[in-house]
Subunit: 134 residues, 2 copies
């Protein structure tokens, strides 16, 4: 809900942006990272106020690791850096879209994206006229 | 973490897929919805095992509403239906990418996507040679 206490009360995030965030119980919002040129969805990460502040002000993506409970800058160790092109907040304030210039593969497995490896069997939807049962 | 109890223990989800999910404390994974043709990221929703099962088997997207604590089928009331083209699980099992054929605007505000309205001020990253401080 908006107004929940963020993980980092000392965050440098612009208060006008902070007021529009709808954080989960851990003080986090979802961050979807997309290649600005190809449109590929590269990965999903998590940001608290401070991670978003750093993403908005450094030109690189910073996330909050829920498992390690620490900030991480994408590419800091791998060199597969993400250069920020555009950052957007969604209509209910609980997710962020970050368009980036990606260096190298985005996934730690070496794949171009974190969604390359596991295509699930799915029934493909066939559009039907509105109101007509399928 | 993998193996957490899902919200819907009676889910019809394929046990082999269920075993690969890494759910949050509420038994949910993030679902990113992308237009299959334009590549636009349309919205972010949440799925438990049963919502994913329905998404995989009905040709339409089903989500779990955290606020209403109920399943919802996108477009059920608005008519702005999402027809499933492809569903992918990410490398650590905590997010899903659903590529869809979107009818009408994806956002309840009438915007094409839920990310159209709120562009944040961001420093644009300028790639630098690896190892050279910016």
């Amino acid at each position: 809900m908006p107004g929940d206490t963020p993980l980092a009360p000392s965050s440098g995030l612009d208060p006008e942006i902070a007021a529009r965030l709808s954080r989960d119980a851990q003080g986090l919002v979802v961050a979807v990272v997309q290649r600005h040129d190809s449109g590929e969805v590269l990965m999903v990460g998590w940001m608290d106020d401070e991670a978003l502040h750093r993403t908005l002000t450094t030109g690189r993506t910073t996330f909050w690791s829920r498992s390690r409970r620490a900030y991480w800058v994408k590419g800091e160790t791998s060199g597969h850096r993400q250069w920020v092109k555009e950052v957007r907040l969604d209509c209910d304030g609980d997710s962020i879209l970050v368009k980036v210039d990606q260096e190298g593969p985005a996934c730690h497995t070496g794949d171009r994206t974190c969604f390359d490896a596991d295509l699930l069997d799915a029934v493909v939807g066939v559009p039907t006229p509105q109101g007509v049962p399928r």
